[in-house]
């Protein structure tokens, strides 16, 4: 489905066409849910937040500017919703603005190496293992990896959504990959 098709659906939805809005939701449902569930790491919360996202989209649809890509606009709303939730409900959230990889970040990623049944199973395939490690890395890195690879966004789009400079986005994604690469190296998965 192209961007124009998204916009055609939005125009129909704005005229009260239920099917058009349903189609729009179906198109984004899996990617939005995957992003949210990996951000909050709780399925029930992810369901609630994904539903809140679609309700929000519906109520602000008339504010959408047709000069921009709908997906970027929608992902920004989703991102803000999730970040707000995390800030309100998760006690220990590391600073999202901090550039450095702190000892605590690395400690968190060190924990990834502790074996459990799930990870032993996931290790059978590099892809599964990489994504299980993504789930464990600090939020400030994880969110960018998710936007880049689940939402398939360009660096510039990620910068627009997260309100971070493009350079920061690139730098954090690089650091995230460094963490992932180290974890993979420890297990000999990339060698």
């Amino acid at each position: 489905m192209t961007v124009d098709e998204d916009q055609a659906l939005i125009k129909k939805a704005l005229r009260g066409n239920r099917r058009a809005f349903e189609e729009l939701m179906r198109k984004y449902e899996r990617k939005i849910f995957s992003f949210v569930v990996r951000m909050v790491r709780n399925e029930e919360t992810a369901v609630d937040l994904t539903q809140d996202f679609f309700l929000k989209i519906y109520t602000v649809l008339d504010k959408y500017n047709f000069e921009y890509k709908f997906s970027t606009w929608a992902y920004r709303i989703c991102y803000n919703l999730v970040i707000d939730h995390i800030r309100r409900h998760q006690a220990q959230v590391e600073s999202l603005d901090d550039e450095s990889v702190s000892p605590r970040d690395m400690l968190e990623s060190e924990n990834v190496n502790r074996d459990d049944g799930f990870r032993a199973l996931a290790r059978r395939e590099t892809r599964d293992y990489v994504w299980s490690v993504v789930d464990q890395i600090p939020l400030k890195f994880r969110e960018l990896i998710l936007l880049r690879y689940i939402q398939e966004l360009k660096y510039e789009e990620i910068a627009e959504i997260t309100a971070l400079p493009v350079g920061t986005v690139k730098n954090r994604i690089f650091k995230a990959k460094e963490i992932l690469k180290k974890e993979m190296d420890k297990d000999g998965l990339l060698s």
């Binding site: 939805a13 704005l14 009260g16 239920r18 809005f21 349903e22 939701m25 179906r26 449902e29 899996r30 990617k31 849910f33 995957s34 569930v37 990996r38 399925e43 992810a46 369901v47 994904t50 539903q51 679609f54 309700l55 519906y58 109520t59 602000v60 649809l61 008339d62 590099t126 892809r127 599964d128 293992y129 990489v130 994504w131 993504v134 990896i145 880049r148 690879y149 689940i150 660096y155 690139k170 690089f174 990959k177 460094e178 992932l180 690469k181 993979m184 190296d185 998965l189 990339l190 060698s191």
Partner: protein, 186 residues
């Protein structure tokens, strides 16, 4: 040639380097096993990340959103069926309660059957036969109702039915307006 920073190697793997830098990194990788190995690791990592594991949302997710956005209203067909059923019930009850079998219309039908000939007479006789059967049932019903229902109770019942029919008609006629009023406008 000095090794490239890891960041540049990653950018090369991602295809984010410019043409000149891409050529320089490529040349370097041919000569440097360490950087080549690093690039290969990033490539594998990139391949794994490029195939994200998409979580399947539960089936209830979208229907619940739709129910909140578009609250279920009675379908037109069900409204029509309820109105028709109410009307049939109301007419039947009035007919039975006031015993219209002796009305001039019914008498005229009987006389027309006596005077007619051929297939028309057959049709009228068939209708009359069915009618007489229905009349017998009706009389039994009327007798039962007279026992069960006093006149005030019957009037109350008629009022309730009329009220129900009016309510259904109002819902049907106001349906588009109700739908708009309940929704947050996009």
């Amino acid at each position: 040639m000095a090794c490239f920073p890891e960041e540049t190697i990653l950018a090369y793997v991602e295809g984010e380097t410019g043409a000149i830098e891409t050529a320089r990194v490529r040349d370097h990788l041919l000569l440097c096993p360490s950087c080549r190995q690093s690039a290969e690791r990033y490539r594998r990592l990139e391949q794994a990340l490029a195939r994200p594991i998409i979580s399947e949302p539960p089936e209830r997710l979208l229907p619940q959103v739709l129910n909140r956005l578009y609250p279920a209203l009675p379908r037109i067909t069900s409204i029509a069926a309820m109105i028709a059923a109410s009307l049939v019930f109301l007419i039947t009850w009035i007919y039975i309660y006031f015993d219209f079998s002796g009305s001039s219309l019914v008498q005229a039908l009987r006389l027309a059957g006596d005077d007619a000939s051929g297939s028309l007479a057959g049709a009228i006789k068939a209708i009359s036969t069915v009618y007489h059967g229905a009349q017998a049932v009706q009389k039994a019903g009327a007798a039962l109702l007279r026992i069960l229902l006093s006149a005030p109770l019957g009037a109350a019942l008629a009022a309730v039915i009329l009220l129900a029919v009016s309510g259904l008609l109002a819902t049907f006629l106001l349906r588009p307006w109700l739908k708009k009023a309940r929704l947050p406008r996009p």
